[in-house]
Symmetry: C2
Subunit: 244 residues, 2 copies
């Protein structure tokens, strides 16, 4: 038996990073930002706006990870970050309801073209769930709109901590009633996989080379010998024996 087959037989559940791995956040946020900017700041590039908003993501979560701030949902952090980005660009006087509406852009993201079919295939053999920093309602809205057939919504809000805090990976295995090695994290980000491996999880890297646009420089390839390395989720399904 090959190593892949041994590993596959051990895995009971697959959990997925979502932003960048399952859905294309940048195009989705830019699409909704475009409509907003055309009213409030015509001339600003909606993709640049999406990138600026996303740059606030990790520092905002770090406040929670470090313990300086108690856990709050990602929807709350996203809105605070949005207010910052608007203010820095001199966009003022926007009614609260319009800021709220733009904040929902993260709830309306499209899946990568391979994602839905691959999840349906993988679901037949494995428990599948998001392991995202996004909160439960955010994950539910994305899944309903995109028809992602999750078995459960796991991740940050269930354990009240943000990746890459070890608790998120370890407690998720515990919730699923399985050993860490029986749980595989699927992600397009080497750092996420490294943290999962530290906790004993199996790891699958999926290359999403345009997550940050055509000139992406990070996470173009696997930086460690992850258990599975694939170009998309259909390839992962095939590797794990889940064919059409």
């Amino acid at each position: 038996m090959t190593d892949d087959m041994t590993k596959t037989r051990e895995i009971k559940a697959l959990v997925f990073d979502v932003f960048g791995t399952v859905v294309d956040w940048r195009s989705g946020v830019a699409r909704e930002a475009q409509a907003f900017l055309s009213r409030h700041a015509p001339g600003l590039d909606p993709f640049e706006f999406a990138d600026a908003w996303r740059r606030e993501y990790s520092p905002a979560m770090e406040e929670v990870r470090s313990g300086r701030r108690p856990y709050v949902r990602l929807d709350v952090l996203h809105r605070e970050n949005l207010v910052k980005v608007l203010s820095r660009r001199g966009i003022a006087g926007v009614p609260d309801a319009q800021v709220d509406a733009l904040n929902l852009a993260w709830h309306h993201l499209d899946p990568w073209p391979d994602a839905v079919e691959a999840l349906y295939r993988l679901k037949r053999r494995f428990i599948i769930a998001p392991l995202s920093n996004g909160n439960i309602r955010l994950m539910v809205d994305i899944a309903k709109r995109a028809s992602l057939p999750w078995d459960a919504i796991l991740g940050a809000e269930v354990v009240r901590a943000y990746k890459p805090s070890p608790r998120v990976y370890s407690e998720t295995a515990e919730i699923l009633g399985i050993a860490p090695a029986e749980l595989c994290l699927v992600a397009a980000h080497n750092s996420d996989l490294a943290a999962a491996r530290q906790c004993g999880l199996a790891t699958a890297f999926v290359a999403r080379t345009t997550e940050h646009g055509a000139h992406q420089k990070t996470d173009l390839e696997a930086q460690e010998a992850w258990d599975f390395v694939v170009d998309d989720l259909l390839a992962l399904a095939a590797l794990l024996g889940c064919t059409a």
Copy 2:
């Protein structure tokens, strides 16, 4: 507009009691108990055994609800209760692995005949999720086996408290980002609905008159004027405008 229609327009999400409301726990547990008892205690009635096991359910959770014991998953309580029931019936010397296997009976329950189709219909219009005292893995296993198309697994483990503690209902609305009145609990048990109503939730009673067998005496009908009262979940779907 009728009251029903106003109420329906307000509701954004439906959460369901599961044991008794969506699945037939008694027949499922008795089925697996039968195989077990035929080896270890032939002559014992598997339905009586299921009832005895279920009678330990509420007192065990009360230890957690009262604060005398920190939250532990229902799988753990079920196993402790099983050991008690076996011991009281003088069934001794059963290998741990066989006790573990019987404990999984709760993971293998069949849905009532109307449940799956009704949930598919309701899912098109509402967020649907279990709001059970069962833990996440237990709910996932039931859902995968029975094809229950939940949008998320909510309930006791997510908030680390047991119904009818008010936290379970209130925090679930908060997690979903909606007002309590926009959340409707669907349950076959008047006491569950009363606790939900206390927290401001909408309420739907579904009559499950054989949950406890042919001679059931409790919860045969609605004991308060719940917002919706139906004979099965397909009738609820129709009442909420979700037809085939």
